[in-house]
Subunit: 204 residues, 2 copies
Amino acid sequence: MLFAERKIVLASASPRRLEILRQIGIEPLPCPVDVAEWQELTKQRGAADLVGANAAAKARAAAALHPQQLILAADTVVMLGDTLYGKPRSADEAQAMLAALSGRTHQVYTGEFLLDGANGRSASGVDICEVTFHHLSAAEIKEYVASGEPFDKAGAYGIQGKGALFVEKICGDYYTVMGLSLSLLRHLDRIVSQGMGGGPAAKV
Amino acid sequence: MLFAERKIVLASASPRRLEILRQIGIEPLPCPVDVAEWQELTKQRGAADLVGANAAAKARAAAALHPQQLILAADTVVMLGDTLYGKPRSADEAQAMLAALSGRTHQVYTGEFLLDGANGRSASGVDICEVTFHHLSAAEIKEYVASGEPFDKAGAYGIQGKGALFVEKICGDYYTVMGLSLSLLRHLDRIVSQGMGGGPAAKV
């Protein structure tokens, strides 16, 4: 129903973003791109600026390879208070992230950038979803980390996997937590495919 | 992580409930049961009482077939204001439901009943999730109804399918909208498997 039946290039290697697009009937062309690590930027920027900048960088890198195509890029981080969490780099880091998230509410930020090389239009935005965790026992954190699920996920959990059991409730777009907000994408598609407005369209 | 590694009987024919349990690593024994239609009850009961009573009836029907087992049953309805929506019985009804939900916030009620035939313990509850829809065009409602997705779903949409594009945001447990609240199930499991309290454990 989105993208007016045009082929879309997904500037991401995330299997979850691919899965979300397939769920709504879209088979994108995956185009994993290599951009500067987000960690470099955390000291100077807030989470919304950060995911927005990273999504833009990924989209532009993919556009260089596919100049006439419709390109979608996204980036996701987790914020707990003032602390930003990306993907854990070790079992200890995953365990520490989950212990910190236990029994508390955090925010998941997903930035998206949609760019149409054919007409030069682009739109971007950031969606935020609040996630409240149950109190987790040390034993269940350990078991979950041992399952391997945390390692390629911002905040060390997958809401669409066994990590679903950790979530008491969310407020916002579930797909933002998975890594690609469909609510925001619907909005960006209106701008780029249908020419309703233009330029940055931040929901934040 | 739930049910202390015991086999669970799922008193439901819903492929989505089965999928949710598989996602968290549980392979239940499906046991579809035939209970009095919920429509019969709507005039006398509120939505929470209704899904609670239906989940209990399904659990007891399955327990009659599997008296020594751990049984899980659930029931889901959609409430928009004072109007209760079950599964649409025709394309016209699906179209009318989606037009009513368009641009508004509704509540999804999922009742669950967990019953252990081995020790006689049971626990039950109802979880409610608020769902806000985007404004939908007549064309997209028509296209969605033609896809066939609405027909086996309370409220005529599947949040885990193409219907995801209709949802602006939710507040609560995503899995309640899919038909089996994991947040509530975690709570009921504590009571039944671990003996923490007993009797009705309504979250409502």
